[in-house]
């Protein structure tokens, strides 16, 4: 499976993961973060609903970027922080960062809904300069710069992957 835009290929590509592996990865993490991007505002609500469910199941630190708080608050969910995606990546790449709660940096960063290109670039920063953490994307498009990524999927396939992930997390 190649990147959504094949030009984004590089020597180290993400491992494609199934909902099961994703669930396992999230479960095994000690201090995971879930980044919910601005696309949540413009895609069907159910995606945000799944994201919230997943975050709640593992008590992940939820960070809203790019204004996704609009959708999240519509769904009565209050993210832990609102911050720019780039600003967040800038913190994450610093292994000495204390995290939002002063408990230190996170070990797994889970992404959904960040626009593909800027998401890909942020993941590139982490892949190349943040060996201390792992990234996983639950987006509809394969993200070569993540450590683990869902494959490219249709919308319906995506919903199935997300629902299965919720199942495995439960």
């Amino acid at each position: 499976m190649s990147a959504w835009n094949p030009a984004l290929s590089s020597p180290n590509q993400a491992i494609i993961c199934s909902p099961k592996i994703a669930a396992l990865t999230i479960k095994q993490s000690k201090n995971p973060m879930f980044v919910m991007g601005s696309l949540l505002n413009v895609i069907p609500e159910e995606i945000a609903e799944y994201a919230i469910k997943i975050a709640k199941l593992k008590h992940m630190t939820v960070v809203s970027t790019g204004g996704s708080n609009i959708m999240l608050s519509k769904l009565n969910f209050k993210p832990h922080y609102n911050i720019g995606a780039v600003e967040l990546i800038n913190h994450l790449k610093d292994s000495n960062w204390n995290g939002f709660c002063g408990k230190g940096n996170y070990d797994l960063i889970c992404f959904i809904g960040v626009p593909y290109y800027i998401g890909s670039q942020g993941l590139s920063t982490l892949k190349n300069f943040a060996p201390h953490l792992k990234t996983i994307t639950l987006c509809k498009f394969m993200h070569p710069n993540a450590d683990l990524s869902y494959p490219n999927m249709s919308y319906d396939g995506w919903v199935i992957y997300l629902s299965k992930l919720v199942e495995y997390m439960e």
């Binding site: 590089s10 601005s38 790019g66 609009i70 780039v86 600003e87 626009p115 290109y117 892949k127 300069f129």
Partner: protein, 768 residues
């Protein structure tokens, strides 16, 4: 060319007056005696001092790298895989490589503007070497960038030349640093990128000084005429000459020749990209097709009868595209010669004949006057001969649509990730709305077609499906006004200090939007309504002209062209970005009496800490755009860019906490809000852009009243686009008087949670 066929008043009678401004010296009285006359010495600037400033700046705004490519293929030690910050064969690591590539991009951008300026300046030196350089009586500070950087205020073409010689020397030196085995520190690469940016900005100013004076374009008039813009405004019953690029020279000659021949009623001259803005500064009869994103579609429509190219922002496949439509090309520049045979020294009629005979796809003609004659003559003849128009101008698209295999590769390579396949799926059921929805969203790159296994002409399908939309694409844009008047700067003093004008927003960059061209208009509208001044240049000035509000008015029709509260200024083409940066410099000089000559550091420090200006480059695509923005950064002006611009791979990020700066009056270190927070920042969405821009207009020296109003907008915008209070609000409130009224209760609660304490504002904030 200025022309009065007949005029009669009580005292004057004119008949057949023609004035060619290119040949005339308007020896207006020089009032700007502030500046010493330029000497014959070389321009010399102390880079060491500038580097010191850069290092200061970079200590607050740290480079942030997001590699777009992990490899380096620039030398034969390679290709080297630098991923995970490994070193290549020359010892460079991924971080340094990013900084190096940014420097390279800035050099390319700066060289492009410099070469553009060089073309015009050399032309002046040849045609009218005694041309005086000024902007008339309303503008004393003629060349704020040149004066500040070099100490020289150019008054003659020779002065322009001298500064350009400096520009070219610096670009050469900076480019040399990108060579394998030269610079070895990302910080020094960044200092050089900032230098290249500043040099770029200087070249912009020289280009504008040259062309505005030589072609007698608007010199700061706020109320320039409204010009037609949009694919719908082109009258395809007339012969159509389309100019593409950034250099006004050929366009002017075409217009002059049409005037000379009295053909203005008979020929349509239109432009694409900055050249369009430029010729609309020269002749209000010219029309603007649109920004770069319309190029592919308009050429493929087969509407133009002849295409005249100058330089920059021209598709690399233009020759093939035009050949497919039987449109002859006239190339006019050394920088874009397309492999065409040079015909500069041939007789016009022979050139016309050769092009008519289809023996060549086009010609290279570097004599601009000849270009004018050939283009006009050829257009008339081509129209007369009714060259066979391509079939697919009104092709049956339903069959094509049914050919789609739904492989989805169009979607995969689309830079804007548009739902093209989905449009085909709808289209197969006879519903073309999917395609017409793509119009205005599509950036016009054509990659979808290159990838299509059926070679479907997707861009044509979109065009034909959007026929009605295109026919009604008839908008208005105010012609480029050029510089800001000194008096305008003086007038906004009080309202800026009191927050009545909460900031100056500079719109720059190209049309590579991730979510359609409307977003930038919505951003503009939001800030105009709030009383910010918005200064636009280049493609983005056109893009916001392609939007109509609920009342059916474009923003240009709705908001005035004054540099004043809620003013929307089209200053001109990309190179006119110099005026936007210049206005910030002028504020420093006019309000704070900061001398400009050779005083870059103090001026930039002033702007950084006191002038609430912010660049938005929402669709920045090119190396020119990154050079312009990086230059603005060195001047202390922050920039917010769109998601695609993350691919420029470097940002300058500040930290969201109180920062220590200097109070110059007391010379003490003081804690101060992080304002501006970042020097260049990439926003994920329009929502984020709105909030970040509002925040980026805050400055340490805001008066309490000014801060109150800026924060009111910031909170209001944040709530609108995020649905909550900003998490960093406490950093920007210095005392209770600055808390926005509307949400005071909520904010007070928030401040308590954040254990906020009031603090004093520095008297004279500085990072020096």
């Amino acid at each position: 060319m200025f022309r009065v066929d007949g005029y009669k008043s009580k005292n004057v009678s004119i008949k057949g007056l023609k004035m060619d401004f290119k040949k005339i010296n308007l020896d207006t009285e020089h009032t700007n005696t502030n500046y010493p006359p330029s000497k014959n010495k070389k321009v010399s600037v102390d880079y060491s001092k500038l580097r010191e400033w850069d290092f200061k700046l970079l200590s607050y705004f740290k480079p942030f790298y997001a590699p777009l490519c992990n490899l380096c293929c620039l030398c034969t030690y390679g290709k080297c895989d630098l991923s995970k910050n490994k070193k290549g064969g020359c010892g460079i690591n991924l971080e340094k490589q990013q900084a190096r590539i940014v420097l390279l991009a800035c050099c390319i951008g700066a060289s492009t503007h410099a070469a553009h300026a060089r073309h015009i300046v050399d032309h002046i030196l040849e045609e009218n070497p005694n041309l005086k350089i000024d902007y008339g009586n309303a503008i004393n500070i003629v060349a704020p960038l040149s004066t500040t950087i070099t100490g020289i205020t150019p008054k003659t073409a020779d002065d322009l030349d001298k500064i350009l010689v400096y520009v070219e020397r610096e670009i050469t030196n900076l480019l040399a640093a990108t060579h394998t085995g030269q610079e070895g520190s990302y910080l020094d690469f960044e200092s050089k990128a900032l230098h290249a940016g500043m040099i770029d900005n200087l070249a912009l100013e020289i280009a504008e000084l040259a062309q505005i004076n030589y072609y007698n374009l608007h010199k700061g008039e706020p109320n320039t005429p409204l010009i037609d813009i949009g694919l719908g405004v082109i009258d395809d019953q007339k012969p159509i000459i389309l100019c593409i690029g950034h250099n006004i020279a050929p366009g002017v000659e075409i217009i002059d020749y049409i005037d000379d021949m009295d053909l203005s009623e008979d020929i349509e001259v239109c432009g694409l990209c900055c050249t369009a803005i430029d010729i609309s500064r020269y002749s209000k009869e010219s029309k603007i097709v649109g920004p770069i994103s319309r190029q592919l579609m308009f050429i493929k429509s087969g509407i133009p009868d002849i295409v005249v190219l100058d330089e920059q922002c021209i598709r690399a496949d233009i020759l093939e595209l035009c050949a497919e439509q039987n449109i002859p090309i006239i190339a006019t520049s050394d920088k874009c010669s397309l492999g065409l045979i040079e015909m500069t020294s041939k007789d016009e009629n022979i050139i016309i004949h050769e092009l008519l005979s289809n023996k060549h796809k086009g010609a290279l003609i570097k004599d601009m006057a000849k270009v004018g004659k050939v283009a006009v003559g050829l257009a008339l003849l081509l129209k007369k001969n009714q060259k066979p128009k391509q079939e697919h101008r009104n092709i049956d698209i339903s069959e094509l649509i049914n050919g789609c295999t739904e492989c989805e590769w169009c979607n995969r390579v689309c830079p804007a990730m548009l739902p093209i396949k989905e449009a085909f799926v709808l289209g197969k059921n006879g519903d073309l709305s999917g395609f017409s929805a793509l119009y205005g969203m599509c950036v016009g790159c054509g990659k979808c077609m290159g990838e299509c296994e059926r070679e479907l002409p997707i861009i044509d399908i979109i065009r034909i499906a959007s026929k009605d939309k295109i026919a009604s694409e008839r908008f208005k844009i105010r012609a480029g006004r050029g510089p800001i008047q000194d008096i305008e700067i003086r007038k906004v003093g009080a309202p800026i200090v009191l927050g009545d004008i909460p900031g100056v927003i500079v719109l720059a960059g190209c049309s590579n939007y991730h979510n359609g061209e409307n977003e930038i208009a919505l951003i503009t509208e939001e800030f105009l309504k709030r009383g910010y001044i918005v200064v636009a240049a280049g493609c983005v000035a056109m893009d916001i002209g392609l939007y109509m509000d609920k009342d059916g008015k474009t923003l240009y029709e709705k908001f005035s062209g004054d540099f004043d509260k809620g003013g929307l200024l089209n200053v001109g083409p990309c190179v006119a970005n110099a005026h936007a940066i210049g206005s910030a410099i002028k504020i420093a000089n006019i309000f704070a009496k900061i001398p400009l000559e050779n005083n870059f550091t103090n001026v930039a420090d002033y702007i950084l800490n006191r002038v609430g200006a912010c660049v938005i480059a929402w669709g920045a695509m090119s190396q020119k755009a990154v050079a312009i923005a990086t230059g603005a950064n060195r001047w202390g002006i922050p920039a917010v860019v769109g998601p695609h611009s993350s691919k420029y791979r470097r940002l300058y990020l500040g930290e969201s906490e109180l920062r220590e700066i200097t109070d110059k009056r007391t010379n003490e270190k003081v804690k101060c809000e992080p304002a501006p927070l970042h020097l260049i920042y990439c926003a994920e969405s329009m929502n984020e852009c709105m909030a970040m821009v509002a925040k980026s207009c805050i400055r340490p020296n805001d008066t309490p009243k000014g801060r109150l109003i800026k924060l009111t907008h910031y909170v209001d915008i944040y709530k609108k686009y995020y649905g909550c209070l900003p998490d960093d609000l406490h950093l920007y409130i210095r005392n209770e008087r600055e808390i926005p009224y509307e949400d005071k209760k909520e904010i007070l609660k928030f401040l308590k949670e954040k254990e906020w304490n009031p603090r004093n504002a520095p008297n004279e904030p500085s990072i020096l």
